[in-house]
Amino acid sequence: MKKLEWFTNALFNSYAQVFFSNNKWFGLILLLLTFVDFYVGLYGFVAVSTALLTGYFIGLNEYNIRQGYYGFNSLLVGVGLAIHFQPSPLLLFLIVISGVFTLFISLAFEGVLGKYGLPFLSMPFITVFLLLSLASRQFMALGLSERGIYVFNDLYFWGGNILVNMYEWWNQVQFPPSLKTYFLSLGAIFFQQNVFAGVFAAIGLLIYSRIGFTLSLLGFYIAYVFYLVLGVPFTEISYSYIGFNFILTAIALGGFFIIPNKSSFASLLVLIPMLVVLSISIQEIFNLFYLPVHSLPFNLAVLTFLYGLKFRVDNRIGLSTIFWQQNSPEKNLYHHVNFMERFGKSSATPIYLPFFGKWTVTQGHNGSYTHKDEWRHAWDFEIKDEEGKTYKDEGDFLSDYYCYDKNILAPADGTVEEVVNEIEDNPIGIRNLEKNWGNTIIIKHADFLYSKLCHLKKGSIIPKRGDRVKKGDIIARLGNSGNSPYPHLHFQLQATPYIGSKTIDYPISDVWMLYKGKDSLLSVANPPEEALVTSLAPHTSLKKAFSFVIGEQLKFKTKEGQEIIWNVKRDYFLNRFLECEATGAKAYFKLDEAMLHFTHFEGSRKSLLYRFYLAAYKISFGYTSGLELSDSFPINIVYHPSKIFLQDLIAPFYRYLKAEYRLRYPENGKGLFFKPLELKGEVIKSSFGRTTKTSSFEFIIDNSGIKRFQFQSTHSNSEASWIEAL
């Protein structure tokens, strides 16, 4: 039975994927919906099964099969054929053939479109269905279906009077005509031209996604109004399978492939009318060949628009395309907002502070002296004493300055691109405007990511051009060369390897910062002027406890004596995660030299791994006495789905629910750490800024790693759950 588990998964997802979902309940609803017409349901099922089994048999990526990516196009083909032709063994055979055929066409589209980072949508279905529509005119043995005409006969045959009455009731309900067309259009996605199927699908859509449901209405009504304006009789939509194009496009571009927000909703105001024009014109052409248009306008519009967006150089219009598809507009939205909050614009290659000790930013981005225009994204660093002076004695000599002659470190791994090492250091107060950057080293860390460190001491740069450097290597000493009247370090990131290149806005990772009397530890930061910054040296035991190594196994026992095993693994995309052996739950994390961040959780929320995920959401390996970390969760991961139903509806515009993370380090954790270290923290849920629920947790860490972990919801009376290292 376990062996077939992938199949049921893939089957339901194949149905749900028609609406981009991987919600199995939504899939089940849609599966039942197709069985409103028994043969349509049956043949659809056969087509999907054929495609899935073939995919499995020839060895396609199991994850993709499970997600239903290879099933939904075959499903549409199967359903489409079953509507058109009389059920017969011959049709069954044809459906099996076309199921396999569609699979391979899907793969071909995946290959071509995938290179451009685009989804293949229902292009395979359209291709195969058009081919079959043309070819089937020659298939004399296939009888055209008459079921669409004698609906009551069929209904009576399958369900007797009750079914007939139910069907009648639904069709008799007095909907406004536009709403009726909306339901018909929804049902038409599965070739079901009746209100009953449409309502059924709408309920499923609402369960799957509130945002998706809102978008479906929005897309449909924009088109509706536009039709009225153009004077095209709207009945056109009712009798052709066109209406759902607007619905699917609205979901796809308003919230699925693009993060749902004000901009994405507004964009539909322009996109849908264009789509109306496109649909009508395609229909005119296809009519010549007596072919149905089907979802071709939707496919063309979505692919063209997504492709076009890729040519933007910035995101000034606020349309953020998805980089990690989670198959739900809500999840995408919450994770996107959370990700932007936590990790900023991007720090795929973390860049660290290039020195030891605490330095002060004496000029930040858009600084008042020289960090202007193309060179605005740069920092100047100096060391200040407790009186705010940067020098001792009178400050007449270079050696009076605290930062002078201090070691400068490589900010990340990389290759040295450029070295200037022979410019004389200026006496105090003198600038060298001719060679204004002074002695400089430029290091390449990644494509289009270079760091530049300037005003170094003459002859102090150690690596040569082309040398590899590792993060933290001593590469030079600070001097006073170039446009530098007194010693300071100029540090900037740029996209090209030249001295004088313009700067790029790129953050520094894992920065402890004291700014305006408040200290904080930031995963990524752009320290402003006057901020005191340093990197915290990792604590060996903390690092050991939380630096999960792939292949490692974490074993714990619970209060009840049950053994819990978590394995450290990674997936095809090199994302690392902990997997609970018993429940299969997965907690994804991101790990660097100084910090652990959990990024995502999948699986049962009853598992201890879920609580561990919440508690170890953000852990720094270095700390100052009494340091407090805070962070925020994507709310869908913390709240029960039923609790955020209302929030989901307005989430693209306003989010009133919050889930915050707090972690406190001990006040006196200064020693060499022989005694176990206690980290305590909370997960705080709030609504409109009022705390609604707090859960507290505690880690006890010793030299061997995590010794004990405890988690308790304070509002419930339940006893704390805890695990201890085995």
Partner: protein, 452 residues
């Protein structure tokens, strides 16, 4: 107009024209205030002589030292050397700044505990640790720096009896190119004793070896010695990892940094010759960074600097008792603080300044303390202004060792005050009285009375 102060008449040869090779005649500028508090008013309130400590100078010096190291090395820790000055107020200033405690006796150990220093932040050094001291230190998780094999055996022995695992380091002595060689503390590096000790510790299953310690000497005027010491310890750490697969957590380079006092017989003044914290830090951290220790395994660097952190903050103010002329014609000035209070006068040519305004006239003078002992010489030869009885003086840089090595000899020990960062005065040690002394004494019954 204020009345001019009276000065005794002197006869002096005129030194006109260019300064001679002995330099220009130097007027000793009076020091009337410490941290903007008049010294005279302090003496009026707390008596003469009087020790005065400046809290802001202590903090400033500490921060300067910490900055010198922490801007060069990622993991730096200072441990306050109790023997240098274990007045509780002083210790606590350092603890507030983040220093651990470094003690060398059971008494100092108890003092640190009483000050509230957590056991695991106390480094226990020195050749004198009783079994009781060791047990206490082990139970508290303190860091024990083993000085000799007998102590190591004691610890191994104790470790079998108690549950806590002793956290130990060994003190290593070595040739760092300075004379005299300090080889009486710890295990020698060159003759292999250090390895004997390390092998024995690694062989014992009950001891945790967590660090390596050296203390190459005192009042070091050269940074090169520290470079050599740091390199040798780093080498030892790397070899230890190679041989036993054991990574140590810290390297302790002890103290010994010179303060800005001038040593007796030195040609140039200490203010010009003593290396700065930056110089010491540069030598030590460069040696560690350039060693074979992996950058990810860089151990914590512990420093036990005492003298250089506190000397500058201490002042001894007092009053002139008398003037007299010696048989060779030299002037002698007798002041109310002698070697009983100023133990360091045996090594330093202390800088001594008047408090009240004086003229430029000076005379070759010998300054004696108040003791009725021939050895009580504060400065044997100084060009000193013409202070008379009742005038006041202040001696600079007396913060290190004097408050711990002073003698209750002939006189009682005076008040010590501390000026806080806001300039407020705090009495931090009360002057001794006859009761203080007599309280400790027990006179046998038959000696209670006499009939003269």
């Amino acid at each position: 107009m204020e009345k001019l102060a009276f000065e005794r008449p002197i006869i002096q040869r005129i030194n006109a024209g260019l300064p001679s090779k002995h330099g220009i005649s130097r007027k000793l500028e009076p020091i009337s205030h410490i941290d903007e508090v008049p010294i005279k008013s302090l003496m009026d309130e707390y008596g003469s002589p009087l020790f005065i400590l400046s809290e802001s100078t202590i903090r400033k010096t500490y921060k300067e030292a910490y900055r010198a190291f922490s801007s060069r090395y990622p993991n730096v820790q200072f441990a306050w050397s109790y023997k240098t000055n274990y007045l509780n107020a002083v210790c606590n200033v350092f603890h507030q700044e983040g220093s651990w405690a470094e003690v060398v006796s059971g008494f100092e150990y108890d003092k640190a505990i009483a000050n509230g220093v957590p056991g695991e932040l106390i480094i226990f050094n020195g050749p004198d640790k009783s079994r009781e001291d060791l047990k206490k230190a082990i139970n508290n998780g303190s860091l024990i720096h083993i000085d000799h094999f007998d102590e190591l055996y004691d610890i191994i022995h104790i470790s079998k009896e108690i549950k806590e695992r002793p956290k130990v380091a060994i003190r290593v002595n070595m040739d760092v190119g300075v004379y005299p060689k300090w080889d009486r503390f710890g295990f020698n590096f060159e003759n292999g004793e250090a390895w004997d000790a390390l092998n024995r510790i690694m062989g014992s299953k009950n001891l945790d070896l967590i660090g390596l310690h050296t203390h190459i000497g005192t009042y070091m005027m050269t940074t090169e010695a520290y470079r050599v010491a740091a390199s040798k310890l780093a080498h030892l750490a790397v070899s230890l990892e190679r041989k036993h697969g054991h990574v140590i957590q810290y390297i302790d380079l002890g103290g010994g940094f010179a303060s800005k006092n001038t040593l007796r017989g030195a040609y140039y003044p200490g203010t010009d010759t003593a290396p700065s914290f930056d110089d010491f830090a540069e030598a030590i951290t460069t040696a560690l960074m350039n060693s074979e220790i992996k950058p990810s395994h860089l151990p914590m660097l512990i420093l036990e600097t005492g003298r250089a952190l506190i000397d500058e903050a201490g002042y001894l103010a007092g009053t002139v008792l008398a003037n007299k002329r010696l048989s060779d014609g030299r002037r002698a000035t007798i002041i109310d603080a002698g070697v009983n209070l100023l133990f360091t006068a045996f090594w330093y040519e202390h800088e001594i300044r008047p408090i009240e305004p004086i003229s430029e006239q000076t005379e070759d003078t010998i300054i004696y303390g108040p003791l009725c002992m021939n050895i009580d010489v504060v400065r044997s030869n100084i060009t000193f202004p013409l202070l008379k009885k009742g005038d006041h003086y202040v001696i600079r840089r007396v913060g290190a060792y004097n408050n711990t090595q002073w003698l209750q000899f002939i006189n009682m020990r005076p008040n010590i005050v501390m000026l806080d960062v806001d300039g407020k005065t705090h009495l931090i040690r009360k002057a001794e009285t006859l009761e203080t002394i007599n309280n400790q004494e027990v006179t046998p019954e038959h000696l209670r009375s006499f009939n003269l």
